[in-house]
């Protein structure tokens, strides 16, 4: 397992903190990170996407309140920011589970039988694409291509890439994740 992205681009969601998803103010940490990012851009409107990613990293998803907080902080219209947030698939405007499964539906994965594997996930977690499992751990999203076609079928769970999937490996991945989250919650 390895990340396909540069480490600083996708960072692990930080769930150790209390749920801050509907707070109307940005935290000092969020502001600091946005300011650091802003130094790379010409104007505030351009840093909107990065600011949303930073806030999502801290809060898990972007609520209306979070959107408004970013809009106020950067002084760009909330409608404009919403345009950005709803354009990018990886900005979540609804609560998601702790593990977001990005399931690849590209041609290669399709040839290699991803439909059967997807059915397996859906049956195992009792969710359809776009839904979150009852225990709040998994969200299943379909994605057009993860760019790893020679190892199809593939999917991402969080920032981890899983390749050459089989029904057995899917069971293992999900069970492992479940176990880990169960351990964390009993700690």
């Amino acid at each position: 397992m390895s990340s396909v992205f540069e480490p600083e681009v996708v960072e692990v969601m930080d769930f150790s903190k209390a749920d801050r998803s509907t707070e109307t103010q940005l935290s000092a940490e969020e502001k600091r990170e946005i300011d650091a990012e802003f130094s790379h851009y010409e104007d505030k409107a351009s840093v909107g996407l990065e600011a949303l990613r930073i806030v999502q990293k801290h809060r898990g998803w972007i609520s209306d309140q979070s959107l408004q907080a970013v809009s106020d902080y950067l002084d760009i219209p909330s409608a404009q920011l919403e345009g950005v947030a709803t354009f990018f698939q990886l900005i979540f405007r609804q609560p998601v589970g702790k593990e977001v499964i990005l399931f690849c539906k590209s041609a290669s994965c399709w040839i290699m039988g991803c439909a059967r594997l997807q059915a397996r996930i859906e049956q195992k977690l009792q969710i359809a694409p776009g839904q979150t499992s009852g225990d709040g751990i998994f969200t299943l999203l379909e994605t057009p291509c993860l760019g790893d076609c020679d190892k199809a079928p593939v999917m991402m769970v969080g920032e981890e890439m899983h390749r050459n999937l089989t029904e057995q490996s899917i069971d293992e991945i999900i069970d492992n994740k479940k176990r880990r989250h169960a351990d964390e919650s009993t700690d």
């Binding site: 909330s78 409608a79 404009q80 919403e82 709803t86």
Partner: protein, 940 residues
Amino acid sequence: MPTITIDGDDYEVEEGQNLLSTCLSLGIDLPYFCWHPAMGSVGACRQCAVIEYKDAEDHRGRLVMSCMTPIKDGGLYSVTAEQAREFRGSIIEDLMTNHPHDCPVCEEGGECHLQDMTEMTGHTNRRYRGTKRTHRNQYLGPFINHEMNRCIACYRCTRFYRDYAGGTDLQALGRNNQVYFGRQQEGVLENGFSGNLVEVCPTGVFTDKTFSKHYVRKWDLQTAPSICEHCAVGCNTAPGAREGWDGKDQMLRRVINLYHREINGYFLCDRGRFGYDYVNCDARLKAVLAARTDTLIESTAARGERIHGEIPPREAVERLAQTLAQAQKGQRRLIGIGSPRASLENNFALRQLVGPDNFYAGLAERDLHLLHLVDAIQRDPRIHSPTTPEIESADAILILGEDISNTAPRVGLAVRQAARNRQRRQARELKIPQWQDASVRQLDGDPSPIAVAGFEDSGLDDIASSRFHGTPEEIAAFGHALAQLIAGKQPAEVSPEYLEMAQQISETLSASERPLVISGCGCRSGEILQAAAQLATALADRNSNPCALYLTCLEVNSLGLAQLCTDGKKALDHLPGALRTEGEAKNPSSVIVLENELCRRVDTATADEIFSLADELIVLDLLHNLTTRRADLVFPAAATVESQGTVINSNGLAQCFYAVYEGPGFIQESWRWLADAAAFCPESNALISTIADWKHCHDLNQAIAEAFPELEVVAELGPDEDFRIDGLEVARQSHRYSGRTAIYADKSVAEHKPVKDPDAPLVFSMEGIQDPDKSPLQANIWSPGWNSNQALHKFLQGIGGKRRCGNGGRKIQRASRSLPDWKPAVQPAGEAEGFLLLPIYRMFGSGELSAMAPAIASVIAQPFVLINRHDAKRLDIDAGDPLEITVGGDRCQLIAEISDSIPFGSLGVPYGFPQVEPLGTEAPARGQLHLLQLETGGDQ
């Protein structure tokens, strides 16, 4: 001129254009969605594909999007080639997969660009049988309906709203098949040009909510060209009327834009588009009212309000005729009060009837003085009054004291386009065609310099390069300093902190090729107008070329009234004095008020004095108001859409509006009431019989031209009522106007003869000239296959050019006169008491008539008072606190609003807002501020 070949035919075409606009201007039908004549091309919809051939040997060619293809000399193109037609067919089929096909219940139906383009493309068979994506719609306020399922994602709405009009709250959201055009949260669209979405959207996503309340199809509307009466810009409109549900009277259903290149182009402001509904409101006068002799009790009696009862029109006319007769015999004095919102004809008729010495302008002395100043300034040969395209091409702009976003919104929209001129110049240098909208907008050319000096934040602050906030004296001093700097002198009266800004602005204005100065009557300060004139003449002297100076007047015929009333003493402030001297002569006086609410013109004490000194008060007006409540006799006057007349806009352009329909009840033009009274007058003399002989609007136009040589053009504005084209009048109704034989069938099955229009060669029927190319009087813009307003290009001299058969409107020919060299007024050094009240305008609320339209009334802010943050802190006032302001003898209650821009020691008070009208009549003036204690309930 380049020559191109389209489908084997050679055309000589204008250079630098794209292929789509070229095809359209040649009359070739080519379907499109995202292109708009005022907004250029983005190549988003792919609907306008054609084939371009490499050379004569190339028989295969390649598909190109015509809107993104610059024409080139010798270019070979095909619109009708099979591959191009097939491609366009597949595009529309794709667009239609998600379209709900709900035309029967869609208000766009019958004037829908999507319908037209679908028909034109030949997509008549629906193959897609799958489910369609559906959206939730948003509440967007009282003006606009939202039905997102109809969207074809052409992006025109956001391109207009955001890019053209500067709105920030409408965006493209989502992506792919789910693109959604809406707000972040439901709510009222904030931009004052949101109504244009109705016309810009090629389908029924955005429709007119006020029209929904009394909707009929476009082909069922009766139309005539009109002029918007809600400000002095003079935008051309095409109002539509149709019989109401209950009675058989016609009622006004909606207003849409009527293209006039020099004024409104393709767009109207929301006050103009949605303010029309006042003509249908409950306060509308439709019958003649006479005051009864019963006395009222309590508070209303104290203000002399009367109870009125309807009387037959004939009785009322005879009463007025008796008054006239007494006046002719010298037993009674007649005083006439004119109005800046009434036509030249109405004002002139009253002026003739009462005589010039007894004709008062219906304005406070200050306002009349401002109008005379505007008139005097515009007469200077060094001053040029710019048209909208000229404003849009200005390369440096100074706005001095006038809040044009609220007093002349359409001009504000033009200024917004001028902000992009440096960007456009950069595009020219890079050889990017101006119609390449997205490419030009992406250039980071600095915004063109626009300096704004005003009392508070303006709607143009987002494009302003420098801002100055001050009192009228400070703004005038700033203007004078600029004028001196431009003339190369050392400015005396500007504080050091603003000197740098003044130097910078004067350098920019001096260096620009097309500088523009904007000011107006809204600031209610003669010093500011003088400073603006000094500045413009200094620029003109420097460039040896007239300087563009736009001066806004506040009402539709303000400048026309100023032409008829040149004596600055004929203002309302002097009327009580005149009435009192009359009283000594023992002759009773009758005051005739023409379409004017005096309580909006002068303070309450002066208005009350006029009312109580007049022995008889006769009012002709559209709506019930404080003046009609005091009247002995009230005549129902015709609104703009119900009558014909001439108005003169801020630029001195005389324009004629035509009756769209006959006013209901006993409504008729004010001048007709006066002419009727003259006809019934038992005393006959030359004057009375001249007035009694006025039968047609044109008779008055001739009389005006004779009496006022400078207004000679009024007689030449349009054809008289006997004019015919091929023996026909111009039809107000479309070919498809329905129900003509059925509408009165419950009473009689015989077909009614249409009412004859005594004023214009227009007929209230479908028989007549329908072609907008044959007469400017045809306001129904329609061409076969083009049912939507996009048909307009069929009737223009090239895309964005003038209307082929000419727009109405002629400039009045004022004798030129050079201005004196105004010196800045010396400010009184005396200790000032209280706060300086400054007039603040709002698009919704400051207009008298539009405020009575229900949709607009629902969004008028509660009467506010803008208070500087430091003043508020000092006095311990929070936003929302109830305050009372006393000025002169008037006291008004308002809600505190904290402002960072209103000058220290000043208060911004709403001008013309319902309930607090007296404030507007006095500002700028010193007033006292009192904190009101909130009621604490009844527990003590």
